[in-house]
Amino acid sequence: MKFLCVDCDKQMAFEERQLPGDGTLAATFKCPKCGRVVAMLTNPMETQLVSSLGVEIGGRTVPTQPLEMVRKMVATGREDAFEETGGRVDGPAGGLAWSREANERLSRVPGFVRGMVKKIYADYAKERGIAQITPAVMDAARVELGLEGM
């Protein structure tokens, strides 16, 4: 799907994606010439069909995580289904710290998906040389990586 600014005859560029949490998806596109912004709003069924394929509209911003679709989309997963180990960057050895507030926020993520979300934030911080993950870092990652649904 492409969006064309008819007045300018220019393809509009993807700007931002949002998952409001009601099963819908919103994506904004901007004309590079006149600056006009339009929003594409999907219905829940369309969004669900895309999710079911395990692909990311707008392209992948983070590497595929093991059992990513299962962990994101299964509603009846057990809290202790997964134990994250290996290749981690958190803790003293990795030089990455989590603030108390960040840990509190992470604890509110369902256990079924928590380890995967934690790794994504940790990788984001590591790649940018961030020593401590705070709620502000988590907010930045959510916007930058398109993690609104996590």
Partner: protein, 259 residues
């Protein structure tokens, strides 16, 4: 208004790269299974004939014979393999490369949705409840793809897939693997089972699967019929075993030896 350009006139790169993402999913499965000598789908087309029971005991016999064996419980909605392989619950160890399988009786590796779901909970997906039949099948196919491609199977002689009744999971499996797997068929003696299993075997043969043979389960317990013999003649495949209600270990070992 001037003519509006078409999609193909817009030459900017496809930012979503969906074909590439789908291609990457297929490569991940292929790379993960590169160390697996053979994949065998245990199927029937008929429910209640003991596919999971046969799968688990065959896997154990193969493992006792010294082969590296794993079972993927592809019955996502009615998983029973962990119980049959005596696997207690413990969190699946996860690292950047994938998920570690559990190890059950006789050293058989396995993965099952039963390990990931709340005790007693059905497999339910997030999403709109209305018209869920439209997307649920695709979700289950994706889950099967992830179980194949994201579990660290390592080098295996055989990966057995315990399929649910019906043909849907088999068709998904063919698409995910890119080639039809070898098929081991389970039936009970009755003509009703024979008729259902015949459809499954015909579908598998038409897809190009190698039909390894038939195992007749629950023999000698009042089930009338000759399903295994009838199907063996029709498809020119061997009857690998007839399993009574209380099979001895040597029966499973003879089946393992035949494979």
């Amino acid at each position: 208004m001037p003519p509006i350009r078409t999609y193909h006139d817009l030459t900017d790169a496809d930012r979503s790269g969906l074909p590439d993402q789908i291609g990457a999913q297929r490569r991940r499965v292929a790379e993960r299974l590169a160390g697996v000598r053979r994949v065998i789908a245990v199927m029937s087309g008929k429910g209640g004939v003991g596919k999971s029971y046969v799968t688990a005991h065959l896997a154990r016999a193969l493992a006792r014979a010294g082969r590296a064996i794993a079972v993927l419980d592809a019955d996502l909605n009615g998983p029973t393999i962990p119980r049959l392989l005596e696997v207690p619950h413990s969190p699946r160890t996860t690292h950047a490369d994938g998920i570690e399988p559990a190890t059950g009786a006789d050293g058989v590796k396995c993965i099952s949705m039963a390990m990931l779901l709340e005790d007693g909970a059905p497999l339910a997906f997030k999403g709109p409840a209305a018209e869920s039949f439209v997307w649920r099948g695709a979700m289950e196919a994706s889950a099967l793809r992830e179980l194949l491609g994201d579990v660290v199977w390592g080098a295996l002689d055989t990966l057995l897939l315990d399929l649910p009744p019906g043909m849907q999971r088999y068709v998904e499996l063919c698409d995910i693997l890119g080639a039809p797997p070898a098929v081991l068929t389970v039936t009970i003696p009755t003509p009703e089972s024979r008729d259902a299993v015949r459809r499954a075997m015909r579908a598998a043969a038409e897809r190009g699967s190698q039909l390894l043979g038939i195992i007749e389960n629950m023999t000698g317990q009042g089930f009338e019929g000759s399903a295994a013999d009838d199907l063996a003649r029709e498809f020119t495949v061997p009857v690998l075993a007839r399993i009574p209600w209380h099979p001895t270990r040597d029966i499973w070992e003879r089946v393992a030896a035949a494979l």
